[in-house]
Symmetry: none
Subunit: 197 residues, 3 copies
């Protein structure tokens, strides 16, 4: 009623370090949704805070992504203690829109990793997928709506869970065409796509 | 019912450091709404507290504004540690009126910045706009009611989100005339307007 | 409605240290359910955190398993202070599915023990059983559904509470065949099965 939930199809033309495009699925259809992260102070045990009217499942997703990302960062860059020593603020605009569900898991890890490495992710990239504590990527709902939303926002590359391959393959050709899709089963499959060296 | 939501059209004739005029939209129409901020003690990690019968979305807006303003202040005045070492109290009169929504974002940053710099903002200025964690200004509702309220309170200059330009342009000429409007897409667009040097 | 609760019959083909397969019983039938655990930082008193939309009874199960496992580990490996010095994160995918009940008790202890010893458990193993604070294994519901789910996921060995022996014996032969069952009355009965030396 009234104002559309997401007024802009694409909030960032260029994403800086710490910002990554996710794909959401609402009663009104799919939409892009940016995860923003920022270091806001020192912290002895690497705390985080989150805003954006997030539901309980999404708050847990952040906790899982933060735990997993700390481990991943330690293995990728042993000297990088960013997530252990900084307080990180995560925000998901728009602030008045309630958001919930586990499907932002892989996007949250990517945002934290991009922030901790001070490295922007590949442009025109979006992703969706639930994250397990060990980095597995689990299937999510709304693949059709999410792919349509990505194309509408001029996204060129998307990462989808391997277990959603069948959902993507079932889409009509005119929806599937013009977008580069990567099916991933573990977060480490996303690394070379988001951070090509 | 009963007492009108805002009893005075303009609470401050002159705003001191830390106080900035925002624009609110209620079921009863638009109104000006002042954000007041004050340092209330030392704090090791730069805490804040907020009053004014604020809803959850507005509380999150304060958290986002505080995080963003810390980063902005560091880039504007590297030696200014005000927000890291002081506990700040934010209040939005009138205390009995419930307030919610994300549209005070840019006003909150401006109040915190004015307090931290001990510098009043330009007089006769009001603003509205949701803030993202990286400083983007997102569109808000109630542009017509807010512009009418600003004029009724003798405000001369307003900042509106760029994405609300169409809403402003659709207003009848007699509402638009007599007010200087700036459309902003990032908080840094507000800086030279609020703090002309 | 819509998406099935568990889309994959078997999430892990190989379980790493800290991950153990449990058996759950839902309104939709039985299913395998993996407990994932990971050390996420130092902790002076051996704290833990848990995610996966867990109900209060399951949260208490984790508390009981953590308390019991600390004692057990001290007796098995006196020098191993892992659970006293690390903050452990436990997660049970899938994140949007509510989970509750006490029957994951023995699985939780096994996951913590596997993590603390940095030793994977025997592959193709699943278990179910409530845990008492002293390590007793108490009976649980849904034996038939759980055994069917284990076989569907290609599990070869299951541990069931001794007091559920009658429920298993009542199952038709074609369900019971092809799976190695161990009936246990105390957690120490599970040790040589999960960690054969």
């Amino acid at each position: 009623v009234g104002k559309p939930i997401f007024t802009s199809d694409r909030m960032y033309q260029q994403t800086p370090p710490g910002v990554v495009c996710g794909l959401a699925w609402t009663a009104m259809g799919g939409s892009t949704l940016y995860i923003e992260s920022s270091a806001v102070g020192e912290s002895k045990r690497g705390a985080f805070e989150a805003t954006g009217r997030l539901g309980d499942v999404m708050k847990e997703s952040i906790q899982i992504a933060h735990s997993y990302c700390k481990k991943l960062l330690t293995s990728l860059e042993p000297g990088n203690t960013f997530l252990d020593t900084n307080r990180v603020h995560l925000h998901i605009p728009e602030g008045a829109t309630p958001k919930d569900g586990p499907s932002a898991g892989c996007t949250l890890v990517t945002a934290l990793l991009s922030l901790a490495r001070d490295q922007p992710v590949r442009q025109d990239l979006a992703m969706t997928g639930e994250l397990s504590l060990t980095g597995k990527i689990l299937p999510v709902g709304g693949i059709k709506e999410k792919v349509i939303a990505a194309k509408r926002a001029d996204i060129k590359i998307i990462c989808l869970p391997e277990e959603n391959r069948k959902d993507f393959d079932d889409l009509p050709h005119f929806i599937r065409e013009g977008i580069e899709v990567h099916f991933v089963s573990h977060y480490t499959d996303i690394l070379p796509i988001a951070f090509p060296s």
